[in-house]
Symmetry: C2
Subunit: 229 residues, 2 copies
């Protein structure tokens, strides 16, 4: 099944245009009477028929609409972006494939990178969602300072901060159905003060074994050990 | 701890030269009397002292030698390389970080790529081993045809082939201490005949959930669910 994206599947007849429309009709030669599968990235899957085709748009009628719940537990990654942005792009691609609910980026004391391209990461997430046949598009949140991230992450019932050498292994805390916020530090790790602030905000230190994982590896593997497969 | 590589730590006094020597002494300014940590990639860690320094080489005396067992179970990935080679490079980097024992590459019916650069992948594995403070360097095996890979994978006690939609989930088979061979198909998946050949050779189909993962994602996540953390 080839999956396309349409942000609004709430009415029975929809107008389709833009690059995906163009790819489906001009490259893949989809035309009137043919069936297209669309998701809105919010859990809905539509089986729709092309009823009218013009050069720059088509009218589709939804023949069947199904809905899936989001992966549970929800995993919300809070990551200090790496110096090399391709490592974050890969995290977003892989994290989307395995069902991460949201990517939050923050700057911290040892952060080397202070800018991300949110639109580019959104495109990567969209492509990965379609490629993996998922119906939930993770949210790419803007880059914010550490303390704002701590407040934002604080709303989730399960609050974890990745820390090498801590007493608790992630797998001991992974069996939860409640939404999880997981903080992953920069390449130079969190500062001592940041760790203290997280502990005071009710976060639990978790470790991922005795070896030193890169920021993006730690984030992906931790998510993989929490999300359902 | 910054870890360096030396292929032979079997005698108490060693000669050190090459790019790592150069980096340590010329860039990091390590000199006589200073301590260097070295691994041979086969489980050994040496704490050594620089006793004599020349421009192009140094003599090191090993003061302490410790040894670690390899991660158990061993995971041997058998992967049909992806069209984009950077996806394989990333698999080797991340797989090394999490403790994969070996990477085997094969060409199969639907393979798009028929060549890999073994030396480049070895460099990536070496860098990832040192970066993650591991003492075991995974073996990068040359690209071989599908049937040879099947014979090679057949020597491992636990033999798995990743297949979407199968009855058995990987996690049901992941709790093993015996070495595992895991076959991951190309982007166009295995052919029906290849799957039959694997089943006849005693492989068990395992799936990784209902979504479509890319080759390299499937390989990494499957390994992460098997290796110990």
């Amino acid at each position: 099944m080839q999956l396309f994206f349409h942000p609004d599947l709430s009415s029975p007849s929809i107008t389709w245009e833009g690059p995906e429309f163009h790819h489906a009709t001009h490259v893949l030669r989809q035309g009137p009477g043919m069936t297209i599968h669309l998701t809105d990235g919010a859990g809905r899957l539509a089986r729709a028929e092309i009823t009218h085709l013009e050069k720059k748009k088509a009218t589709l009628v939804i023949r069947e609409l199904t809905e899936k719940p989001a992966p549970s537990p929800e995993v919300h990654l809070f990551v200090a972006p790496t110096k090399q942005i391709d490592r974050m792009e890969w995290l977003v691609e892989k994290g989307t494939e395995i069902g991460v609910a949201g990517f939050h980026f923050f700057t911290s004391y040892h952060s080397e990178r202070r800018v991300i391209r949110k639109d580019r990461l959104e495109q990567i997430a969209l492509a990965a969602m379609k490629q993996s046949n998922r119906l939930h598009l993770p949210v790419i949140h803007p880059l914010i300072p550490w303390r704002d991230a701590l407040v934002k992450a604080g709303i989730y019932p399960v609050r974890l901060i990745a820390q090498a050498g801590g007493p608790t292994h992630l797998t001991a805390l992974a069996a939860t159905k409640a939404p999880v916020a997981l903080l992953i530090g920069p390449e130079g790790d969190f500062s001592e003060q940041e760790i203290q602030e997280a502990l005071m905000a009710g976060f639990t230190k978790v470790q991922l074994g005795e070896y030193r994982l890169r920021t993006e590896t730690a984030a992906l593997i931790a998510a993989a050990l929490i999300v359902p497969f």
